[in-house]
Symmetry: C2
Subunit: 245 residues, 2 copies
DNA sequence: CCGGATCCGTAACGATACTG
DNA sequence: CAGTATCGTTACGGATCCGG
């Protein structure tokens, strides 16, 4: 009786306390989605095919109560209700993107649905890989029109922030291409110059030079350090198969 | 039929793929524990009072299959079986510590059990807060004897790594104190000099200067940037209570 | 004693139907 | 459109048992 199912870890450890808020299923992916900008309930629902409206509602309430997320109303013409990150939630950008960088190495098995690939998620991963900040005084945006969806990168404090949707201010550069070409650019399978030459990419505004800079700054490579790990004991079983290289 | 309960998110997104491996309950805390060094099954079980041996076994098997964890046998005299992180798992140190830094700001409510505070976890958080690497050539360890447990900080590639247990090599500095004093030192409530003067801390090996350096390098403060967040829409409800400051 | 595996009652989840 | 209510299924927590 009076059993508290606990749900929380209850440990005096900052990681455990973070996970008390973020550790349940879907929660971190909801935050990921909101890192790309304010989103409507139905957009979040669409981003997660199998969550169920009640779960999503439950998660959003939890995040709101923890001060990570808040309800807001989009300005002027739209005036629709959305969820957005609070400053506390925005501070999750760095940890989450770094967890994403870790996942770049992982093998893509058959359980991953290739159809879930999205340009804004690629862009989010790209911004995680920016090694050095640019001039903090610069305040520009770059817009990509990929398929029928737009996304933009906002330069803030010397770092690119990825957002879904068109740029709120006039972008210094605007290009259009399809998703596959964008992925090839991100993975450096092709260069911006090649994409331009092959007609896979069109510059709607700005210069090729500005385009080169974007894909020069954003590398999308994990660059794993070897890490000798001196504490390692005598290994009995040398790790089966998967990703370790 | 042939219903696959899915368990995985199945999304083509590096964060989602990371969480496919790490997202289940307890998994990230198991990794946290192994960041402190190789651990026996029973030690992990003791670190998580309510996990149940079957869950722990299940999580460890999952992590092993993903190449994050491997079984090993401790060298020479001990010769006991342990679990340890692979290089892939070791690469989770940075993302996890950053997620922990985020959690530092969170309010400690009544669901947190103060008795779960542990010196090695504090030390792990401390190493997360090291702002700048030291001279990469230095290779030293610092040992703390806190209560009846020992932990050590290993300087590797200019960064301190926290580990449970006594230092494997002779430490350049070794001090003894109780848990409360260690926490006070970590939070900068007191300085090493004060702790020494009050008799709360004893230097068993090394110099006070070396002690000062450790707590000078490791700050344990989140140092949150304001982040103006220009995209913020007109807020309808200004966030109820909790952490946002 | 240690490292699990098995079993069972409860809480969380996924899918769908329903409502303001 | 933004959720809430309901229900069958899955995962979890706790205890017990078993082989080395």
């Amino acid at each position: 009786m009076e059993r508290v199912p606990s749900k929380t870890y209850g440990q005096m450890c900052p990681l455990a306390r973070s996970l008390d808020i973020l550790g349940e299923r879907w929660t971190l992916l909801v935050v990921r989605e909101l890192l790309l900008g304010p989103k409507r309930f139905k957009h979040l629902l669409a981003a997660f095919p199998s969550i169920g409206a009640n779960r999503l509602s439950e998660r959003l309430r939890g995040l709101e109560q923890a001060g990570v997320v808040r309800r807001a109303t989009l300005p002027a013409p739209a005036a629709v209700p959305v969820y957005e990150l609070t400053p506390l939630g925005e501070r999750l950008r760095d940890p989450l993107l770094r967890l994403g960088l870790w996942g770049l190495d992982l093998p893509v098995d058959e359980r991953i649905d290739p159809a879930t690939a999205r340009a804004d998620l690629i862009a989010l991963g790209l911004t995680a890989a920016q090694p050095e900040p640019l001039d903090p005084a610069r305040c520009e945006t770059v817009q990509f029109d990929i398929g029928d969806e737009a996304l933009h990168l906002q330069l803030q404090d010397g770092r690119f922030l990825a957002r879904s949707g068109p740029s709120p201010s006039a972008p210094v550069l605007r290009v259009a291409c399809d998703l596959d070409s964008f992925i090839a650019l991100a993975l450096r399978v092709i260069t911006p110059a090649q994409a331009l030459g092959d007609g896979k990419l069109a510059i709607l505004a700005g210069t090729p030079m500005a385009l080169d800079e974007v894909f020069e700054v954003l590398v999308y490579a994990p660059a794993a350090e070897p890490e000798p790990l001196t504490t390692s004991a005598s290994v009995r079983q040398p790790t089966v198969g998967s990703a370790d290289r």
